[in-house]
């Protein structure tokens, strides 16, 4: 399976993602934002970080970068695209995913472990996944998912909510909402479920010596579904 990680100026989880993808069997290549074309890939990943310093609005400038056009074309033709953290923000800015990511409710950067519950496993990402609740890690300042009531209804009707913040038993409540997101939304799909954007970083939880290894479950499952 071939994957490509796009590097924008200011990306900083690109290497971590590369390490994780290779560990679970992807043939990964790194793609510079200024490259005109995408290499042939089964999966495109937009990694975390602070693309272009996030000075305009998180992901705002990256969404206009040279490579993004090919990413949008790839996604629109049904290709699998995952955006993690800043990657999620970029996907929203391109319009591939609905809604907005606001500043965290308490106006602070948050770096900690969270639990997420998979809401929809009828897709390439979570089909057959062996655990429904994963312990992953978040590290962001703007992860407070927001959308209008109409949009929310549309997202819900189309089963586009991918993962929600929850407690270790899978209960979803305000108490376990780290950043103020509507309905504890931690990640969403596009309508046809080939595009996934999420705030938690699976690539930071890939062996038992790190804060946990539930990230491994995500990658193992994903490559299994693609084979």
């Amino acid at each position: 399976m071939k994957s490509s990680v796009i590097i924008f100026p200011g990306s900083n989880c690109d290497r971590d993602m590369d390490v994780a993808l290779k560990k679970f069997g992807f043939k990964n290549q790194m793609v510079w934002h200024n490259d005109p074309n995408l290499p042939k890939s089964d999966l495109i990943i937009l990694p975390g970080g602070f693309s272009y310093g996030d000075y305009l609005r998180c992901g705002g400038i990256a969404a206009k970068s040279k490579i993004i056009k090919s990413v949008v074309d790839f996604a629109n033709s049904g290709g699998l695209v995952v955006g993690v953290c800043n990657g999620f923000q970029i996907l929203i800015e391109t319009g591939l995913l609905p809604g907005a990511l606001l500043r965290n409710k308490y106006l602070e950067f948050i770096c900690k472990n969270v639990f997420i519950k998979i809401n929809n496993s009828e897709n390439k990402y979570f089909k057959n996944i062996k655990k429904n609740i994963l312990k992953l890690h978040i590290a962001h300042n703007e992860g407070n998912y927001f959308c209008s009531p109409d949009e929310l209804k549309f997202i819900e009707d189309n089963n586009q909510i991918a993962v929600n913040y929850c407690n270790k038993n899978g209960d979803i409540s305000e108490e376990d909402n780290p950043n103020g997101s509507i309905d504890n939304i931690a990640g969403i799909f596009n309508k046809s479920k080939n595009i996934l954007g999420m705030m938690p970083h699976p690539e930071r939880m890939i062996d038992s010596y790190l804060s946990g290894e539930d990230g491994s479950i995500f990658f193992e499952n994903l490559i299994g579904n693609l084979k």
Binding site: R15, D54, E108, F109, C111, Y209
Partner: protein
């Protein structure tokens, strides 16, 4: 403009210093030259009050590749790997503008590290604030924490450890000390020493603006009520540009184009160009019209003294300019050839085709003033006699809760959760432990680091305090299973022209030196920050020590959380019950006198090395050093982290319960072992003549003393976490 004594004094120079400049030059300097002298001769750049004493530091060792004097120190961690590290202060700017001051402090220290060819792998910080009740403290704390996070998080380097302290002596002068560790191939380290004549001098990075002019002079001055007016001297950070600069520099460093490289830190283009030339015993010629400027009509004076951030000066091999430029273009950074190295041994600066500066380099460097200032010794205070009856009236439960919620003991999670501590995917021990630990990417090795200070001890008796911090740093590394290798120090003191402050400096340095020599724990880098004083009130002497250690097999790393019910808990090292200067005496009894706990270097070394042996043999389940708050606080932390309780054995010791639990005797650790290993552990401890006491057994959830449950682990946790959380959101 005619330069006179008055203008020189406004530049922070003393009358005698201005006379010396005139004598050296045999003429009156022009304004740009005066600016350059004032920048190079101020305390921050010249170390004029400290150099004489810093020479006494222990700086050599088997693993030292580079000691003090470079951008950062370098130590060997086996194979091809070396760790580059340093700690630096950004105190004065952080008080004036906490967010930017702290952010640029982090940016500056990271540049020092990647300048040497190392990729930063961990950030650490030590921050000190005034009393929590002081009106400025909360905003300063918030601003500094957000600034540290804002910069480090954006670059993508994990912040893995730190300390936050409060004391009223920092009401008018907070401390922000930032430390960075980088990983480098030991055959590919870059230095700042220039070499070769006629080599191009290259400016890369951000453009030069008017920010930070005289930042270094400001950092060498005491504060008064007009300090707010100094806001324009605080630099503004741009972490995004720094990230690009780091990637571009590391890319250029992968071949042999660079002869030498130096970041433009304090005193910007002035100190970087002078230092490179001085170390290479060369001259340097600059054309300031070539310097990329952000603002219009900047004068040579402003260009030379700007402290705009994210800039580097590089001396390249001839003919490599094109290739280097391509790399910086790729990263969208300015790249300009602004001069060349010369034989003249002078700094010669041209602007609008006129020579505006002509100063022999040695006048600025070697001939800079050096003072052996007067200093006063601090006598060891008399020991306090604590009244047994007073102690008997206290309830252990209440005291324990109170001490756990003390601002200097309480859990700092809501601070370090604002720092990205897991990016780069190798953090195997997060903040909140004895040391932060990151793996050396792709190997079995890991590097541990911690930062410590003990201003209360240093204030009571600087010599003992100096020794104590080195020992505490050593213990923090040992506790995670790391062999301590070397330290970096940030020496934060008051006004060196005051004999008591100078004495504190001299004796702390002596203490640090003695301990680091005995423990073979050399100092490889550091910085001095004097003049932390406002309206004649100086800070407590606060050397911060950043220690670095090596774990050869990261799978043997130890953490402090209690692991399993029925395991045994043992105290390593002898407990005498030293309460003077302890947090118990100060916060519960309001007794602030007395000597700090004594340091026995033999015991420190022996106890530490024995713990490492036990860890190597995999006989230890968890470990924690005993420091502030004594045995009971150390134990409470282990309970909280592991979500377990402990049942204490009946005290054999004849000393009072409070002395036993809260005494801050040094050289001690708490370890958890399995019952099966008890015999083996005892044997090793006895063979190495290490004193130990069997303290407790791990239970489900309560702390049980004299068969009576006094507090549950949940209550401990609440006491430990509540205060700061509430304080931060108010």
């Amino acid at each position: 403009m005619k330069i006179n004594e008055k203008i020189a004094i406004e530049h922070g120079l003393k009358k005698e210093e201005f006379n010396k400049i005139r004598e050296l030059l045999k003429r009156v300097p022009n304004i740009t030259e005066l600016g350059i002298f004032s920048a190079m001769w101020n305390e921050h750049c010249s170390y004029k009050s400290s150099r004489f004493h810093l020479k006494k530091m222990h700086t050599k060792g088997k693993r030292v590749i580079q000691g003090p004097g470079e951008n950062a120190g370098v130590i060997d961690i086996d194979d091809e790997d070396a760790i580059v590290f340093k700690i630096e202060s950004h105190n004065h700017p952080s008080f004036i503008e906490p967010y930017q001051g702290a952010a640029t402090g982090v940016g500056g220290i990271m540049r020092d590290v990647f300048t040497m060819g190392a990729r930063p792998i961990a950030n650490i910080n030590s921050i000190h604030f005034g009393s929590p009740q002081h009106k400025k403290t909360r905003n300063l704390l918030r601003g500094v924490v957000q600034g540290i996070g804002g910069y480090g998080n954006c670059i993508g380097v994990p912040t893995i450890a730190g300390q936050t302290c409060f004391d009223e002596s920092y009401n008018g002068n907070i401390l922000v000390n930032a430390m960075t560790l980088g990983l480098v191939n030991k055959n590919n380290i870059f230095y700042s020493k220039a070499a070769g004549i006629g080599k191009p001098v290259i400016y890369v990075g951000s453009k030069t603006g008017r920010d930070g002019i005289h930042g270094a002079s400001m950092a060498s001055a005491i504060f008064d009520e007009k300090i707010e007016e100094k806001k324009p001297t605080v630099q503004v950070g741009d972490p995004f540009t720094e990230k690009l600069l780091m990637e571009a520099c590391l890319e250029l460093m992968s071949d042999k184009s660079i002869i030498s490289i130096q970041d433009m830190g304090a005193a910007g283009l002035t100190s970087s160009s002078v230092e490179m030339a001085s170390k290479g015993k060369l001259g340097i010629e600059l054309n300031l019209n070539k310097v990329p400027c952000r603002e219009e009509k900047m004068t040579p004076y402003e260009i030379m003294l700007s402290e705009s951030q994210e800039r580097m000066l590089i001396i390249l091999e001839n003919g490599k300019e094109e290739k280097a430029k391509k790399i910086f273009d790729k990263w969208n950074l300015d790249f300009a050839v602004i001069g060349k190295t010369t034989e003249s041994k002078k700094i010669e600066i041209f602007f609008d085709e006129k020579k505006v500066v002509d100063i022999p380099i040695n006048f600025l460097a070697e001939n800079a003033p050096i003072y052996d200032r007067k200093w006063k010794k601090t006598k060891l205070p008399q020991k306090i006699k604590f009244n047994d009856d007073d102690l008997k009236k206290l309830k252990i439960t209440e005291v324990l809760k109170k001490v756990l919620s003390n601002p200097n003991i309480c859990d700092k999670e809501c601070i370090w959760q604002q720092y990205d501590h897991t990016v780069m995917g190798d953090t195997i021990q997060k903040p909140g432990g004895d040391s932060g630990v990151v793996r050396v990417h792709g190997t079995n090795k890991a590097v541990a680091a911690s930062v410590d200070s003990s201003a209360v001890y240093c204030y009571a008796h600087p010599l003992t305090g100096g020794k104590q911090i080195v020992c505490e740093s050593w213990r923090n590394l040992i506790s995670v299973g790391a062999k301590p290798l070397a330290i970096t120090n940030c020496l934060n003191f008051g006004n060196p022209e005051n004999e008591r402050n100078m004495g504190e400096f001299v004796e702390c340095v002596q203490g640090i030196s003695e301990a680091s020599k005995y423990l073979d724990f050399p100092v490889v880098s550091g910085n001095v920050s004097f003049y932390n004083e406002t309206k004649n009130k100086g800070i407590k002497p606060t050397p911060s020590i950043g220690g670095v250690g090596l774990i050869k097999n990261y799978k043997k790393m130890v953490t402090m959380d209690l692991k399993k019910v029925d395991n045994l808990v043992i105290v390593i090292g002898k407990t005498e019950g030293h309460l003077d200067q302890s947090i118990f005496a100060r916060s519960i009894l309001s007794e602030k006198k007395g000597p700090p706990p004594e340091i026995n270097l033999f015991n420190e070394k022996n106890n530490g090395e024995t713990i490492l042996k036990l860890i190597e043999e995999r006989l230890i389940e968890s470990a924690h050093d005993i420091s502030l708050g004594g045995i009971i606080i150390a134990l409470a932390r282990m309970c909280i982290k592991g979500n377990k309780g402990v049942k204490l054995n009946k005290l054999k010791s004849l000393i009072n319960k409070f002395q036993y639990f809260f005494g801050e005797d040094q050289g001690r650790y708490i370890i958890e072992i399995t019952k099966d290993n008890l015999k083996k552990v005892k044997e090793i401890l006895n063979n190495n003549s290490v004193h130990y006491d069997e303290l407790a057994i791990v239970v489900e959830k309560d702390i049980i003393i004299d068969e009576e449950p006094i507090l549950s682990v949940d209550e401990l946790m609440l006491s430990n976490k509540k205060w700061l959380k509430e304080y931060m959101v108010q």
